[in-house]
Amino acid sequence: MSKGAIRFILNDEEISLTDVKPDAMLLDWLRLERRLRGSKEGCAEGDCGACTVLVGRLMGDEIIYDSVTSCIRFVGSLHGTHVVTIEHLRGKDGILHPVQQAMVDHHGSQCGFCTPGFVMSLYGLWMRQPQPTQVAIEKALQGNLCRCTGYAPIIRAAKAISSYGAPEADPLRAERIAIKSKIIAIHDGSRVDIGEGPSRIIVPGSLDDFADVYAENPGATIVAGSTDVGLWVTKFMRAIGPVIFIGHLQELKAIKTSADAVQFFAGVSYSEALPVIGAHFPQLGELWSRIAGEQVRNMGTIGGNIANGSPIGDTPPPFIALGARLTLRKGVERREMALQDYFIAYGKQDRQPGEFVESVTLPLLPEGEKFAVYKISKRREEDISALCGAFRVSLDETGAVAAAKIAFGGMAATPKRASAVEATLVGKPWTLATIEAAMAVFEQDYQPISDMRASADYRLLTARNLLLRFFHETTGVSQRLKREVA
């Protein structure tokens, strides 16, 4: 029954595992099995970045290196990748890597515990953007917490890295050609299937293979980016086996653009989606960069954000407002539905055993329609929404509201349309008086809760005010808070 092995490259060593558990995490494996203890555990939930490593994966004929949080990255998900840890950066001659030397010279470490994670995130940034802007640095570091330095010296170091060496001269670059050929060899299209029962790990060879094996094993847990399922293990100690890892499936990373829609397959990560989002849905750009931190955006997938049905997921509100349609698949059978119908109740979605989210299709916004999304959180970045509201309005030739789609996360047990507000708007002229009338009916749509993120009163008041903001922005009186950086 058992066939194959989980095979990947760790720094410069080939790894082949046949007895790994489905819930084994990369960080524990590095620290406990391999005694590589440079990567640290700060939170075990992917939020602090002390465990950051780079994972190189094949994209076309290139290896792309993503920063990831190894505390919630399953070992079983590493098949066919190149894992680079902090231990690999310093040369065998003891010479510090340019990223490391910049951090030393700019006093970028104090207690040093978060430092390896920062170095890895900065390494990832430097590889793809050797002369980063302050904004790019901040985005790359959104998933790294430091409690000592106040970040200022780390930002100074980040700006200086390229004066210590160019990525073309990266000592680690030389080994990559050999590593690439090894990775290509691992991806031979065959399924890896090891372990039995709850200890079983399945790494399908293709999308069809995945559809088949999941239909046969509907009790299995699907893991794409592991940014949610990872916490089921590290925080709730839930048993998740058997597990099907799908993060590597190229077919699920497809983005298909047509004249009137963009279809994202479920395995597209937030980072991978960003250029397409920016090109076709620029109104989502700011939200996109405020979803979690860089590492989680590199891991988390569009399908995953929808599939598990969280009431505070960041993508459902704007996707619902845009009229997104889901494609669900079981075996060879597919069905389509409007995204808003997928969320039935808290923790309950319209997904049958053995069925999975294959893709989500976003219709392009017709010319002239007004659309915006606003995320409100206690901390501006790398925070879970207190509420997230998406607004879409089209006006007829008389200037009256022809159609309105408004959806919120964080305001109810599921991502939910504001039907009463929409009804109040439709047919009315797009004026402040109309808006104020609509603001008064939010209570009919939402009775939010108070929790550690916000009070019910704040949620309701802010939701109303966001409608007002949307109105102002569509009428040219735009005033939105913006952090001005040099």
Binding site: R37, G38, S39, K40, E41, G42, C43, A44, E45, D47, C48, A50, T85, E87, L96, V99, Q100, M103, V104, H107, S109, Q110, C111, G112, F113, C114, T115, P116, V119, Q142, N144, L145, R147, C148, T149, G150, Y151, A152, I155, K235, M237, K378, R379, R380, E381, E382, D383, I384, M452, S455, D457, Y458, L466, L468, H472, R480, L481, R483, E484, A486
Partner: protein
């Protein structure tokens, strides 16, 4: 050589030397306790925590725990040979394992010991615990309403005639401010590993700021003498006060297991459990009554400082004391009465955190300054200046210490100019007049912070310096390294004293076996105390070597001159290594224990009088913010800091403390919110729910300067000043700037009185309240 003449400077002090561990930090090779390769057979312990805030424990059934895979055993109170207590106040009110009752959600009930950490952690959740619920209180107000039970003796400071002062004041303001607590969020959580030795011996590696106290606690718990316990710490992954006492319990559990099973044992809680089961900064509610006149000058202050102490005393006594010691910040109160209430609550026992109550005391002072300013329609900065301590008069604190080194006027004047405060304030007012939705605020706040432990006996330190025959130096002292750069600063002092390079000095891990009876590395005192103790040790060795050289080269001791790299005697240069070797051959003792006690300080708590602080550190900051009055979101746009560290031992390290302290303080006052739910459970207990600042929260313009002209008036090491805590309070200007922005919605006529942390929600609700009140 004069024992207290520490002003000499050679090559390394007063320079921006990098942190000694920096190359290891960036390489992942700096070893923290969890990184040490464990002895074979190391066991792992995990705590089981209560799931009730206040309840009688009816029964605990361990059957499922013991049957869980890998479990070696369960540790309960009955397994403790000595005292089931880790109370640092020695009030015996903080059991390791709860007996009979639990007093907060998250209190340790027992520990599971297993072959792996994962096994221990899973098993710890399997006990069946039956509780009988009791009434509970989690907030300061609830605790006051329930009768105000205290965990330790309150303090009162009084000076002048408060009744007469109030009577003389033409205006009066009464109010209150709620000041939230703060989790330390050290990146490395609590951890300890104990290795049993022969007889009673045990060695404990503990992530602690206070190895000597861990030693004492472990000895008391095991009912053995302190000499059998060795506690060692090379470095912590952050402390901030959270490892002053909170590591004691973990070290004790590891040591208990190690001795019981005669195997090494490690304990490391998950982040959620760490945040649930360990103490934090105290929340305060300060109720105040302030009399002042039409010019804004304060006549009298009468205030009560209620603090959420949690279920036990821990350090709540000295923390609430320090809040009162900083009730003045930099302000002269002609008459003052301030009282503390360290309140019992059914929450985790709160503890030390950078500033140690001082920040809360100072935040309250800034609040009534703001009240006065909005009442009089003045810039709060004018009110601040009008009330600053004088330099020769009006300079006695509420605890009757004369402020003799006041430089706040110069600091504030220079910052006001360098930050272009007046012009920018005008621009902010103009912006607000023109913009309906976005509003700006700007504020300048001062800091004056007292340096010394108020527990006077803590103000001592020891060091041990060895010089080997090859001239290499081995440096130990009682201070611990948590990232603040103490080790490098002390090494600079020693290298400087001997005139050698830093590479000659090996910085040793801190261990109770090298330097005994040490104080916590806390109260910003690390460099002051340990730098001086190490200097004293170096001085002794130098004196012996000087005498030896005089004899060897047949000259007077005065003719032996210490120069970079060695000495000159009668015109001849002798390298330090050669000198050490010849010293050895001539039987000169090349090792010395150094010692230091802070002079001049004294404090009588019973009368509330004394001179508890050796000196004061000063600073000031200007912050500009923009708020969004539709959502309450805001940005901190620019910060300018001028801060006093005396003559800096290491400007790069000190700037790092100021930048880091400011941002940590900003987190405390803005996004770091501790929320307990109706069941008494802390709901913000992981980075997903508890939000410390990110890189993108750092002000895009962040100018930090040292007051380079400042020299400590007292003969501290190199005439430097402490830097650990004082910069933390610079972040108060963020609150005051946010207040101004909120006040703009009511034309600056109503004091906004925002409670902290000033979350976006509080900003929006503040705007709404002011708009309502302005409408009448």
């Amino acid at each position: 050589m004069n024992k207290h003449d520490t002003s000499i400077a050679l090559a390394t002090v007063h320079t921006s030397t990098r942190h000694d561990s920096a190359p290891k930090h960036v390489s992942g090779s700096a070893e923290y306790i969890d990184d040490m390769i464990e002895p074979a057979g190391t066991m792992h312990a995990y705590l089981a925590l209560s799931t009730k805030p206040h309840a009688e424990i009816v029964s605990i059934d361990y059957a499922a725990v013991k049957a869980s895979p890998g479990v070696i055993g369960v540790l309960t109170a009955e397994d403790i040979p000595g005292e089931n207590d880790v109370s640092p106040s020695h009030k015996h009110d903080e059991p390791i394992f709860a007996i009979g009752k639990v007093h907060f959600w998250g209190q340790p009930l027992f520990a599971v010991v297993a072959e792996t950490r994962d096994q221990a952690r899973r098993a710890a959740h399997l006990a069946k615990v039956e509780y009988r619920d009791l009434e509970f209180v989690t907030s300061v107000r609830d605790a006051q309403a329930a009768g105000g039970k205290l965990v330790t003796e309150p303090l009162k400071l009084e000076r002048g005639d408060v009744a007469a002062g109030m009577a003389s004041a033409s205006r009066r303001v009464k109010g209150s401010i709620e000041i939230g607590g703060q989790d330390h969020f050290y990146l490395e959580g609590q951890i300890a590993m104990a290795i049993p030795g022969e007889d009673e011996d045990v060695t404990v590696f503990a992530s602690t700021q206070h190895p000597s106290e861990v030693q004492l606690m472990v000895a008391a718990v095991l009912a053995i003498r302190q000499h059998a316990v060795t506690v060692q710490i090379r470095r912590m992954g952050g402390g901030f006060g959270g490892k002053e006492t909170q590591g004691n319990l973990f070290a004790a559990v590891a040591a208990l297991a190690a001795k019981k099973w005669n195997r090494a044992c490690k304990i490391r809680p998950d982040r959620d459990d760490d945040m649930t089961a360990t103490g934090k900064r105290h929340d305060f509610v300060v109720d105040y009554d302030v009399g002042y006149d039409d010019s804004g000058k304060i006549h009298a202050v009468d205030a009560v400082y209620g603090a959420r102490a949690g279920f036990s005393s821990d350090l709540s006594g000295p923390v609430t004391d320090r809040a009162l010691f900083h009730a003045d910040n930099a302000y002269w109160y002609p008459a003052v009465r301030v009282r503390s209430q360290p309140l019992y609550t059914n929450t985790v026992s709160n503890t030390a955190f950078r500033g140690f109550g001082g920040p809360q005391g100072m935040m309250a002072a800034e609040r009534w300054i703001e009240d006065i300013a909005y009442d009089l329609g003045r810039d709060p900065l004018d009110i601040r200046k009008a009330n600053f301590y004088g330099t020769t008069t009006d300079n006695v604190t509420p605890y009757h210490q004369t402020v003799g080194d006041n430089i706040i006027h110069r600091i504030v004047d220079e910052l006001e100019t360098s930050a272009d405060y007046q012009a920018r304030r005008k621009a902010v007012l103009a912006f607000n007049a023109e913009n309906a939705i976005l509003k700006k605020g700007i504020a300048l706040t001062p800091v004056k912070f007292g340096i010394s432990f108020t527990a006077t006996w803590y103000n001592q330190a020891g060091a041990l310096v060895h010089v080997y025959k090859d001239g290499s130096i081995h440096l130990s002292h009682g201070g611990t390294e948590m990232g603040q750069g103490l080790y490098i600063k002390v090494a600079q002092v020693v290298a400087d004293a001997f005139g050698v390079g830093l590479d000659v000095v090996k910085i040793m891990a801190t261990t109770t076996g090298k330097v005994p009876n040490t104080s916590a590395t806390a109260a910003s005192s690390g460099s002051d105390l340990n730098g001086m103790a190490a200097y004293d040790a170096a001085r002794q060795i130098k004196e012996r070597l000087t005498a030896h050289a005089a004899k060897l080269y047949e000259c007077s001791e005065a003719e032996v001159v210490w120069v970079p790299g060695g000495i000159e005697a009668k015109g001849k240069f002798v390298g330090f290594a050669e000198l050490a070797a010849s010293g050895y051959m001539n039987r000169v003792q090349l090792s010395a224990a150094g010692f230091y006690q802070t002079p001049t300080i004294h404090w009588d708590r019973a009368t509330g009088r004394g001179h508890p602080f050796y000196y004061f550190a000063y600073g000031a900051s200007v912050t500009e913010v923009t708020i969004d009055t539709l959502t309450g979101e805001y940005t901190v746009d620019r910060v300018d800091v001028l801060h006093d560290v005396g003559r800096s031992l290491n400007p790069a390290i000190d700037i790092g403390q100021i930048e880091g302290g400011f941002v940590q303080g900003m987190g405390w006052l803005t996004t770091e919110e501790l929320v307990w739910d109706a069941k008494g459970q802390l709901r913000t207990k992981a980075p997903s729910t508890y939000k410390i600042p990110l890189a993108s929260d750092v002000p895009p313009i962040f100018n930090v300067k040292l007051a380079e002209w400042s020299v400590n008036a007292e003969p501290t090491i190199g005439r430097s000043k402490a830097v650990g805590e004082p910069p933390f309070m610079l972040a108060m200007s963020v609150v005051e700037a946010l207040s101004m922005a909120v006040a703009s919605v009511a034309d600056y006529k109503i004091a906004p009185r925002l409670n902290t942390p000033v979350t976006p929600e509080r900003v929006l609700m503040g705007c709404e309240r002011l708009k309502r009140e302005a409408r009448g």
